[in-house]
């Protein structure tokens, strides 16, 4: 019996560890399980171009969305120039809400673009908050 004790202890600990790892589900945060897409949207320019093309959004809504995107970009530009009254967290929240508006507009009528948006959501923000990548994007737009 004494010889079996260490082996039993190992089995008990192993079963305890596996039960813990299966009991705690992996965190499923927003846009953490986006369906994979053949063509990915990698930046805001691609997203705005895709939004211009989609038939899921009416002309007037497209103009409004364009204006909303410009506002968020202008606030980010101020932040990069150290002139913003908003914090980066607030700007991220404003960006997320803008993308939520876009997502709800396209989900039913352009599922492919919605899936592209889901995949691009976090990456575009990383571009926007990075000073170098943001300036590159602005200079490409200005050129």
């Amino acid at each position: 019996m004494h010889r079996l004790l260490p082996a039993l202890l190992v089995v008990f600990l192993a079963s305890l560890l596996t039960s813990f790892s299966t009991a705690v589900p992996a965190a499923a945060g927003p846009y953490s399980a986006c369906p994979s897409v053949a063509e990915e949207i990698v930046d805001l320019e691609m997203l705005t171009a895709a939004l211009r093309e989609t038939k899921a959004i009416g002309k007037i809504t497209k103009i409004r969305l364009g204006s909303d995107i410009k506002k968020v970009l202008s606030r980010l530009e101020s932040w990069h120039d150290n002139k913003s009254k908003f914090t980066l967290d607030q700007l991220e929240e404003q960006y997320n809400l803008l993308l939520m508006k876009i997502a709800i507009l396209i989900h039913d009528d352009d599922l492919f673009l919605h899936q592209q948006l889901c995949n691009a959501w976090a990456g575009i923000w990383l571009d926007l908050k990075d000073p170098d990548r943001f300036r590159q994007m602005r200079s490409r737009k200005g050129a």
């Binding site: 846009y31 607030q90 508006k101 919605h114």
Partner: protein
């Protein structure tokens, strides 16, 4: 002589008023940034709720539950949970929970 003193008084009053308004402008952004941000969030939540087709005339307040997860309260008292799923879909559901 009297006219000159009236002119000087007017100019002094103008300079004083301008200085006061400038100092209040300088202080304003610090106070109003939070409020302005909250207004932007309320407007966007209202737009999302309306786009989904739920009745709401105006979002008067909101609570943040989690990342991209809000409970918005409309003028009528109706409350909606607005959140983004792991697949990136935006859901707007009637919220029955307590304050």
């Amino acid at each position: 002589m009297k006219i000159a003193s009236v002119y000087i008084t007017c100019i002094a009053v103008l300079v004083f008023v301008q200085a006061c308004s400038r100092s209040s402008d300088e202080q304003a952004p610090m106070v109003s940034a939070e409020a302005e941000h909250a207004e932007i969030v309320k407007k966007d939540l209202f737009a999302i709720i309306s786009l989904q087709g739920s009745p709401c005339q105006q979002v008067v307040s909101y609570d943040i539950q989690d990342e991209l997860d809000y409970v918005a309260t409309c003028e009528t008292g109706d409350r909606y949970r607005v959140h983004v799923s792991s697949e990136g879909k935006v859901h707007v559901n009637t919220h029955e929970g307590n304050e």
